[in-house]
Amino acid sequence: MVPATYYIALSVTLFSIGAIGFLIRRNLIVMFMSIELMLNAANLAFVVFARQQLAVDGQVIVFFVMTVAAAEVAVGLAIIIALFRHRQTLNADEVRMLRW
């Protein structure tokens, strides 16, 4: 049986890849996808701990995380579409002004 620490190491690696992607990419959609990667890393950690404690609570939390992620993606992509219609660009550096 693989030690549980290896799974947690994978989760931390995924989380840091997501965090690095969020910081270095300027395309709004790719930034959003990095956020999804971070959420999935957290999901993996929850599932591992649920399996370790043999308590289903961790998997129920994953259920809620998925629901919240779905709601967040819907609203976030609607914002991105509205932003694109206004500014014709999805570069996070070019949408700095809050006026108009």
Binding site: S16, I17, A19, N40, N43, V56, V60
Partner: protein, 169 residues
């Protein structure tokens, strides 16, 4: 799940995750993310989380990512032009990420297999992670977050419809 199956699966997951953040074209990033989510669902099955794995494919890979692909197709996005002037910021971000990962990983990996927990060395009972067990827990202990989540989804649907509407006139 033996080391022989874990190492290739983990390597593939990390590889495709790197593909998400490193690809020039957003649609290739989205497809790399789809493969990452699918492989994570495979890992969930190995961890006896069957319902969560099915939900991962139905909700995450089958709906959320399709929404991403939709938006990329609708906005007809081209490949990103690489920008050179933020090189110092990129290096700082990567360095910060690596330092953070190392700082968290070091005590975990050096601790060996001493994370407490009863269930790791034995196989899970057949009813662990099935729809029945999660449903039982969801509708007894977690019923209040469940109801609040339904309100959250309603708010999200309304918000998305209002935001993406074209203004008339």
């Amino acid at each position: 799940m033996t080391l022989l199956t874990f190492i290739p699966l983990a390597a593939l997951i990390v590889g495709f995750a790197l593909g998400v953040i490193l690809n020039r074209h957003p649609i290739r990033s989205a497809l790399c993310l789809a493969v990452t989510l699918f492989l994570l669902a495979v890992m969930f099955v190995f961890l006896d989380a069957h319902l969560v794995a099915a939900l991962q494919i139905i909700v995450y890979a089958g709906a959320i990512l399709v929404l991403f692909l939709f938006v990329i197709m609708l906005l007809n996005l081209e490949a990103d032009i690489p920008q050179k002037r933020r090189r110092s910021m990129s290096i700082a971000a990567v360095a910060g990420g690596v330092v953070f990962a190392g700082a968290v990983l070091r005590p975990i990996l050096w601790a060996g297999d001493t994370l407490p927990g009863p269930g790791w060395s034995e196989s899970a009972p057949a009813s662990f992670g099935t729809a029945e067990s999660i449903g039982a827990r969801l509708f007894t202990h977690f019923v209040l977050p469940f109801e609040v989540t339904s309100v959250l989804l309603l708010v999200a649907v309304l918000g998305a419809v209002v935001l993406a509407k074209k203004k008339l006139g």
